[in-house]
């Protein structure tokens, strides 16, 4: 194609056509003024589909909870309406204008909520066993979290749409894959908790629980137990949430209670950790510091007492995706338990001299994992 033909094609030649000029200019002007709105419309449609899926997860998790309470707990006929009320409970976090001393306040709010929920579930069926009650409480927390995710996402979406606010929809579009990943993981967790199956997060309790079999168990704190044994001439204290309840126990209180009564040379914490994108699943890593998730109050409590007493904290984590951590434990993760146990043995020998004492804490939800 020579230059003349090129000019003809775009009406730059002798036969200059104002109509052809308009054909080019009108879309340009149109997109200058309405391009953002078109983009908003396309993005909004994509987001709407995801919000619809979130709504499905929200409703399904609520139905599962209602069915569980009806079938397993012989609850009264008004239980669905009571559950509806619990699902809408919210927590107001303490003011952080003066952050000094905020941790006990946060702990107080969180525990008040937990205790209230526990009591409400007990009222639904006072004859139900502790296992059923803890399972129902976890299902309630899952349904409540999914409801919150849907509500916040829907709020941002509707506000952006109402105000035709394109910049507002962009962060939502960026965050939505992460929100959906978490929502899918929560939705997937329902069946495991309902059936009392160990989840990926339970690898810490699984490792410690296996070491506690045949040992005498004592209560260390609410829904948390400990045992004592000898490994390679070192006194080893083993601690985990009380299985097979669906509970993480209160490791903060338990560690504090035990350290007040016993002198330790080291603390070893075993937990599941979120793997990074591209990392293999079920990889075991060692490190330093308190390996414990959650809102941060338990970690603060353990760090506080360990720092005061100058006790080093070692961590062993088994890496997993959020979906794996919340769903039924995968075979790959379960097979790592024996490797983690042998690594704990090595760490005990390295961290304490003969005659010394080490505290080993299995952190995570202990559903389906006894001891």
């Amino acid at each position: 194609m020579d230059l003349a033909e090129f000019g003809d094609l775009f009406s730059f030649g002798d036969d200059f056509s104002p109509i052809m000029m308009l054909v080019w200019i009108i879309p340009i002007v149109f997109f200058v003024f309405y391009g953002q709105q078109i983009q908003l419309y396309i993005s909004a449609n994509q987001i709407k589909k995801q919000i619809f899926r979130l709504k499905e997860y929200r409703d399904e998790s609520k139905d599962e909870l209602v069915n569980y309470v009806k079938e397993r707990m012989k609850a009264s006929s008004d239980s669905p309406s009571r559950i509806e009320t619990f699902l809408d409970y919210f927590s107001i976090m303490p003011s952080n204008m003066d952050p000094g001393g905020i941790v006990p306040k946060v702990r107080h709010v969180v525990r008040s909520r937990e205790e209230h929920t526990r009591e409400q579930i007990r009222i639904l069926d006072p004859t139900a066993g502790e296992l059923q009650r803890t399972q129902a409480q976890t299902l309630l927390e899952i349904a409540s979290s999914l409801r919150l995710l849907h509500r916040i996402t829907n709020h941002v979406y509707l506000t952006a749409k109402k105000q035709k606010n394109f910049p507002m929809i962009l962060p939502l579009q960026m965050m939505l894959p992460f929100i959906m990943e978490e929502a899918k993981a929560l939705r997937g967790a329902v069946s495991a908790f309902k059936l009392g199956q160990p989840i990926g997060d339970g690898i810490g309790p699984m490792v410690v629980g296996r070491m506690m079999v045949h040992l005498q168990k004592e209560t260390a704190a609410f829904q948390t137990v400990w045992s004592q044994t000898l490994i390679d001439k070192r006194r080893v204290y083993l601690m985990k949430a009380q299985g097979p309840l669906s509970s993480v126990g209160r490791p903060g209180d338990a560690v504090e209670n035990l350290l007040r009564r016993r002198k330790m040379d080291a603390i070893i914490m075993i937990d599941a950790a979120l793997k990074m994108e591209g990392e293999e699943s079920a990889v075991v890593s060692r490190g330093f510091g308190a390996a414990i998730g959650g809102i941060g109050t338990e970690r603060f409590q353990i760090e506080e007492i360990a720092t005061k007493r100058g006790i080093p904290i070692y961590a062993i984590v088994v890496k997993q995706s959020i979906k794996e951590a919340l769903a039924l434990m995968t075979k790959e993760v379960a097979l790592k338990a024996s490797s983690v146990r042998s690594q704990v043995g090595e760490m005990i020998r390295e961290a304490a001299p003969e005659g010394g004492s080490v505290l080993v804490v299995g952190v995570g939800n202990t559903v389906g994992v006894s001891q």
Binding site: L195, G196, Q197, P198, M206, G209, R210, V213, G243, P244, A327, L328, M329, T330, K331, V333, A334, L335, A337, G368, V369, S370, Q371
Partner: protein, 58 residues
């Protein structure tokens, strides 16, 4: 383009505390780790060592 999620089947792996024989069965409600699942042929106790999910199909 879109990968369909493969179903995950839950299994319970028991090991005899006497002869070490392993037995795998489909997970049944009430199974939980480190409890006795059944009696072994040797007279020992089959203890649940693992409960895990395995994806099926290719």
């Amino acid at each position: 383009m879109f990968k369909k999620e493969r179903p995950v089947l839950p299994y319970t792996l028991s090991v005899c505390d006497s002869c070490g024989r392993e037995g795998r069965a489909k997970f049944a409600e009430g199974d939980c780790l480190f409890i006795e699942s059944s009696k072994c042929e040797c007279g020992g106790r089959m203890m649940i060592e693992m409960i895990y999910g395995e994806t099926t199909g290719r």
